[in-house]
Symmetry: C2
Subunit: 218 residues, 2 copies
DNA sequence: AAAAAACGTTGACAAATGTCAACGGAAAAG
DNA sequence: CTTTTCCGTTGACATTTGTCAACGTTTTTT
């Protein structure tokens, strides 16, 4: 069930994982998907869904996507932490996204348009993903109609979140943006070092350090 | 054809418009939709589509959506210019979007989630729109399956554009962001005054004025 | 036509943020 | 265990951007 055999043959063979963990991982995906679905997926639908994904592990610092490549996979983080960033003319990295368990990673633009990506995506911690290719993704949409609604719901949530972040970036001070991030995604602050959080907020690590100091005093 | 009678009865009776203009407007929407569609819509599909939209005119400064309301309509701008903004605790307006012909307006979050909007949307110029309610929109998706792909394509483009703007906002200086806007959407600079452009970029009108002066000297 | 409002610019100054350099502690590598 | 790298903080100073006020011009309203 749940394509355990297939998984095994696909070679996700990190010694940490055994067959029971595979089951757990796909149950994780299942509960996640059902959360965004009008009606729960049937066992059969879920069978199809799970066979479309492949497990993949990334060592810390290993690339999921490198600038110039076309983004061929979307990944769902089962365990770990991943960052997405661009590098400017001066070699400075600008963090575009920080992602942990339960989040999707990949460059939407490159994935949809099949153009080379301007971003890098790499693992900040050792990370386990479930990945899907564009072809399998489109096949999945065909064979499991309920996926359309699920994907749409995910896309809507993503669009809303991006819009909110953009609004905050334009309207709020660094201090307020940090407070907002801290209240909304406190876990990110614990999983990533401050210089990455700073870059994510669009400020330097020194400024973030001072902002935090001020907010402690209050 | 194209529901001209319906339009008339819906009361879009600005003296400027006559029956030929209605036709033109829907042809406009048709060519726009076809641009994002795999296969052109049939006449019949387009008949259904056009009956789902209602024409609506806004006078300059008239609200399309006010903070606290649920966004019940999405609007396609046929002619005119519209701004979307939030107002902070100090009463300062922060421009979230500036839109002209061929663009959609509405607050996605409120529209999808049926929650009160935190934004205001009003007409900067006298504006003609084609609007659709959520119910009609969902009905349209049901009765014209090709719309799913079209909407998805539009959503994807929107998501990519928002992501780009966010990346720019975090990574680039005010000067670079202005140059980017000027090269990408030169028309916006001519349709909206500088203090709105400045707010859209997340800077003050004085800073924008100085940025422009510097860029002329170069 | 006159008055009012909106708009863009400029100057002086204040505040926020960036840059560079240095330091010490923590974590990772050997 | 030792060495190296990474990380967060701090200080001094530079740069960018914001704030406030004033001014002239254009546009809108009356």
């Amino acid at each position: 069930m749940y394509n355990v055999l297939l998984l095994y043959h696909n070679g996700w063979q990190s010694p940490v994982y055994n067959i029971f963990v595979y089951l757990h991982v796909f149950e994780y995906l299942r509960s996640y998907i059902n959360r965004y679905s009008a009606a729960p997926l049937t066992d059969q639908e879920f069978e199809i869904l799970s066979s479309a994904f492949q497990p993949r592990s990334l060592r810390k610092k290993q690339y999921f996507l490198q600038e110039g490549e076309v983004c061929k996979y979307m990944g769902f983080i089962v365990k770990g932490a991943v960052r997405q960033y661009s590098v400017d003319d001066k070699g400075v990295e600008h963090i575009v996204n920080l992602s942990i368990e339960n989040w999707w990673v990949g460059d939407r633009e490159s994935w949809v348009m099949l153009t080379p990506s301007v971003y890098n995506i790499d693992a900040w911690e050792d990370t386990d993903l479930l990945v899907i290719t564009r072809a399998d993704f489109l096949g999945l949409l065909d064979s499991v109609p309920a996926m359309h609604g699920i994907i749409k719901s995910l896309d809507e949530k993503h669009a809303i979140a991006t819009q909110k972040r953009l609004t905050a970036s334009i309207s709020f001070s660094a201090e307020k943006r940090y407070a907002d991030l801290a209240s909304r995604y406190p876990e990110l602050l614990q999983r990533f070092p401050q210089h990455l959080i700073a870059s994510y907020l669009g400020i330097t690590k020194e400024t973030l350090s001072r902002v935090r100091q001020r907010s402690v005093k209050k």
